[in-house]
Symmetry: C2
Subunit: 431 residues, 2 copies
Amino acid sequence: MTTADLARAAKAASIPLAAIDTDTKNRALTAIGEALAAHADSILAANRADLARAAAENLAAPLLKRLKFDEAKLQGVIEGIASLARLADPVGEMLGATELDEGLELYRVSCPIGVIGVIFESRPDALVQISTLCLKSGNAVLLKGGSEALETNRALAQVIREASVAAGVPDGWIQILETRADVTEMLKLDDCIDLIVPRGSNEFVRYIMDHSNIAVLGHADGICHVYVDAAADLAMATAVATDSKCQYVAVCNAAETLLVHEAVAADFLPQVAAPLAAQNVELHGCERTCALIDAQPATEEDWQTEYLDYTLAIRVVDDMAAAIDHINQYGSGHTDVIVTGRAEAAETFMNLVDSGNVFWNCSTRFSDGFRYGLGAEVGISTNKIHARGPVGLEGLMIYKWKLKGTGQTVADYADGRRTFTHRPLAGDCRG
Amino acid sequence: MTTADLARAAKAASIPLAAIDTDTKNRALTAIGEALAAHADSILAANRADLARAAAENLAAPLLKRLKFDEAKLQGVIEGIASLARLADPVGEMLGATELDEGLELYRVSCPIGVIGVIFESRPDALVQISTLCLKSGNAVLLKGGSEALETNRALAQVIREASVAAGVPDGWIQILETRADVTEMLKLDDCIDLIVPRGSNEFVRYIMDHSNIAVLGHADGICHVYVDAAADLAMATAVATDSKCQYVAVCNAAETLLVHEAVAADFLPQVAAPLAAQNVELHGCERTCALIDAQPATEEDWQTEYLDYTLAIRVVDDMAAAIDHINQYGSGHTDVIVTGRAEAAETFMNLVDSGNVFWNCSTRFSDGFRYGLGAEVGISTNKIHARGPVGLEGLMIYKWKLKGTGQTVADYADGRRTFTHRPLAGDCRG
């Protein structure tokens, strides 16, 4: 089957899938969990084959660690499926209800987007998490995992497909793509695929965004900032800046640039330099920074760089307005933090910084679906429409308008024989 | 100034505009209404100049009618602004609130998208409606109106700009583009413009969608269907089908195809043919239709055509499933209607038809922001993400996540020294 065939099959399945009831979906999720446990031997054997191939190809140790799918990881995804089954069904939620006239009622009701294409890294648990999120939200899905995990992904997808279809989910809803050529093909299928979620390197995500007419949900860069205000508690600022930079450097929500109000720079910079030096963080500073602490001179490029490493750019700014300008100019709209004791300044910062996540007195690293309490996460979006920041089930939903009448025609209203009442109906959460 | 300069100015203004308070915005709206009244003479004179030029260029009568902006139209937009000022501010609405831990509170808060590019037809009142919707929602806007309305648009935009800036709105928030080359330029400015709303012909909208990486909100085709079920009240079906086709043929929510269950075709088709013939509707029917009433044979192309005229395609189908398949295959996801006495069939139809607007026992022509009670309308979207169907103020909004802490670091949670509470906070409408 070509990629287009797979996408058409997913599209066909997406129609009945959008309308299956909550019980069927939850029974299917439970069945998937049980089937994964029952097929543990073959899944783990497939993963051992992937690991052996990867080791023979000299894959780096951190990548091997991500690729590994053992009994504990399997148990983790099975528990994740059980908690997903317990969540409320996001389909069919009443988002608004208006009486347009007597016997003419308008409802805005949540529904699945349709067909989602997801391209993800070499963590086999991602396949289980993403596919079950799609099932719970009533979306069909095309999945392209890392090629290193090919055997594991095949084994997992087969178990998920068989268990879900046996439980009444329309066959075709889950499709696996296996090559880069398949992905290239997928980007053209805007008649079948409604949304693409690419997870991976900046260059990869940007390539996807630039080469498809399909809507893309995700982020390329994660250039996150910590701004230390004149009114900051400097011990708190040191802890927040150090955690933001060092707690896990290889991720999109790690801080890349530290901005410091000039009034506290002389006190703060030597104070924060100590824990950063203890973790071997390389500092690239502006001129004023280099005059206060030991740092390499920063260039314009530093402000635009996502290091994903033990490197930090530091700039002393005249005031908060300059910090905000810097962030809006060089940032990526991901996550930016102010450390300050002034609530009013914090509110201004959070309103004027045009990022999906704006924080006051805490680490950039909190920007994450699990930490936000969203359950599993589809990804983090720096889009300006649809969904922003960490995206959970809600990002896989849209709505449709259902209008229920009793024979009404527009001519009656256009000609003044009837008038609209536009009365909110009970069930409209927003009143 | 180049288009890029205008877009950068709009982007710069969008930052403070996103944060100005409700009173300032509403005062500005009131000031705009007053200024439009005060400058009525020069605005109407500009419109007379446009009309004279258009008449000299032999513009068709319906277009001249759309272009005309007289005292009554001016009064209409001024009243529209007054009612917009009375609407709740869509910015800063609390969409969710969660305690992540003691002293660490997460809020999801509505905010403007940023910079919107709108391309619209030759109705000068559209300029006023769109720009004031953007102002109310805190968005900067680049406006490209029909070239026939150039003088009127210049006059209106100048009044709106001066009045709003005098009332405290950041200068630069409203920008006018005047040529097609400006639009071509705008499509490339994905660093400054967050969303494009094109209104106009199918070909034009499709061109925009195919030539920009910027998100587009709108619709190309409007191929709307009326399906008459076996259990339909045939008198009601006749009224709904006739209104859907004839009440205003030149618009996207007019019906283009009538689908009829075979069990009622012999009764229904002659019945509906009479009022359609009275309005000179040309019928293109499938084989079974042509055996029952006088119609031209329909071709495959008929099912894919948005006539926007007194022409209707008719197809007899075996059952509701065949009707749903037809709509999902040939429709444009705009508006589709079932006429039936069976509530269960209606619900199935509305769940399985993958369109933004799915109606039961009423005309396709109700698919409209004003009729839905949304107030003024940005446009109608057949997108599968962000906003669907008639789009009002809400479609110009997105949200940001604000996290307010007291010095928390992620290391404390990762190392098990602290755990998340994930407790819903009061103020979360969704509980």
